[in-house]
Amino acid sequence: MSTDTMDTTERTRALLTSSEPRRKAVDRLMTVLIWAAFVVAMIPLVSLLWTVLVNGAGRVSLDFLTYSMRGIFGGDPSGGIYHAIMGTLIITGWAALISVPVGLLTAIYLVEYGRGALARSVTFFVDVMTGIPSIVAGLFVVALMTIFLGPGARFGIMGAIALSVLMIPVVVRSCEEMLKLVPNELREASYALGVPKWLTIIRVVLRTSVAGLTTGILLAVARVIGETAPLLVAVGVTDSINLNAFEGRMTTLPVFIYRQYSQGMATCREDQLNCVVDISYQNAWGAALVLIIVVMLLNIAGRLVNRWFAPKLR
């Protein structure tokens, strides 16, 4: 009897431990591959951040952040990027102000109301919009404004409109996905309490998904804040501070970076005191670092909103 039990135990042990060596090998191989892919993907990111940090950190100072480039020529290192920071914030802010209502309302329509041909065509055209090259968006706005204001018009708001052409489809897509994630049971629970549909959407659907919506909108902002080409054609450039989006040209950080980098080395005479040969490059790197920091701050703000509004369990 006892040998029998022994036998059964042994046989069961053999049954339970008989693993397939192939599966283990494949498991190990895939783990290595995936980690390798992760490292490969991290290399450009880390290298990019490192390069920008090393090249830009030396240039960033309080003066650099608070002065404009007005009246700065050649190798003069006393210029700054205040005008470009403000230009970026104002133009991106206007772009968000236009795109968020349009995009969010479109997403609400598609998820809560849309059926049939209209909804299908809206979805289709949103997809088409996603594929518009950014320069085309810029040219579209220039062409549009030329009709009303004649040629040569360059305003901040034109850049904002160009950016919102790029931003709206991203906002629609990400908000749509977030609204779809809200369980139908919550909508039904709300209807069953005698809450009308519009209030259900505002107080239950949007409230439940607000964290995701914020993330989606911030991703869309991050997508357009680095745009150069459409702004170059629609807003132009300036060395001065201009806080009015409805009059005169503006400079944004990406455009500033492009302009500075394309200027190349400055020529300094022997007797010139305040002259740095590679100041344009330094300016470009400094501005790039500031742009990355701005995007990062936006993301952190998004995370905080996310944490604040996310449904809690305890």
Partner: protein, 259 residues
């Protein structure tokens, strides 16, 4: 408080598909009416037509009449939103609002409708509703905690509290205990017994013992086959349905000789 429902020749459709055919019944006030029957026979579909929840599904519609004290719920000029305020519903899976505290969940019917309510009225309503749902003693010290932190049975009673906080005449329950353990189920069955003093209660259940325990009247629904519409086979006092039903199909079903 409680009101009576008369259903006459109701056909329920999802688009072209006839889901439930030719149902007529009377649901008495201050009583518990149970709907039993196999899965897919249209019990849930039918209970959702009683407060016009059915039509939130695209393409779904109803013909025939559902009268609440003689007023046709599907008649012209009747607002489905007002109907649902009057006829509350508890769902199969507990669905408290995840962004709200326990207190706010109870007040959801008031707050989501943007109605103003004074702090003391709100406190009274929260306490009376939670007491009505037998949940007050368990949660009175943590009203500001999120509702989704409660256990499944507590969440379901929270949903019942939320439903009775809008002071409906009728409470519909669509398999309210099917996601709960036996102890929570017992708590809810006791609650149903108390609630029937004040409300008309309709409950869908898969559990025949439950129907036998809690209900005064029982309706048996059946379906002839997949793709065929569900039908009301018979409706009678619960004791009759479970002892000597008039239809053979009912007897087979309640005695477990089904299929």
């Amino acid at each position: 408080m409680a009101q009576r429902i008369d259903v006459k020749d109701v056909n329920i459709y999802y688009g072209d598909f006839l889901a439930v055919e030719g149902v007529s019944m009377t649901i008495e006030p201050r009583s518990v009416t149970a709907f039993i029957g196999p899965s897919g026979c249209g019990k849930s579909t039918f209970i959702r037509t009683l407060n016009r929840m059915h039509e939130v599904i695209p393409g779904a519609y109803v013909d025939g009449s559902v009268e609440l004290e003689g007023v046709d719920l599907y008649g012209p000029g009747v607002d489905p939103v007002a109907v649902r305020r009057n006829i509350g519903m508890v769902f199969q899976r507990p669905n408290p609002f995840p962004t709200m505290s326990i207190r706010d969940n109870v007040l959801a019917g008031v707050k989501l409708n943007n109605r103003r309510i004074s702090k003391s009225d709100a406190d009274d309503l929260v306490e009376s509703s939670l007491r009505g749902a037998n949940l007050w003693n368990e949660v009175k010290d943590r009203l500001e905690k999120p509702g989704s932190g409660l256990s499944g049975g507590q969440q379901q009673r929270l949903c019942i509290a939320r439903t009775i906080a809008v002071k409906p005449q009728v409470v519909l329950m669509d398999e309210p205990c099917s996601a709960l353990d036996p102890i929570s189920t017992l708590a809810i069955e006791d609650l149903i017994q108390e609630m029937k003093k004040d409300y008309t209660i309709v409950i869908v259940t898969h559990n025949m013992q439950q129907a036998a325990r809690v209900s005064d009247r029982t309706a048996f629904f059946n379906i002839a086959g997949t793709g065929k519409p569900g039908k009301l086979i018979e409706m009678d006092d619960t004791a009759t349905i479970f002892s000597s039903p008039s239809e053979q199909a009912t007897e087979d079903y309640v005695s477990g000789r089904f299929g």
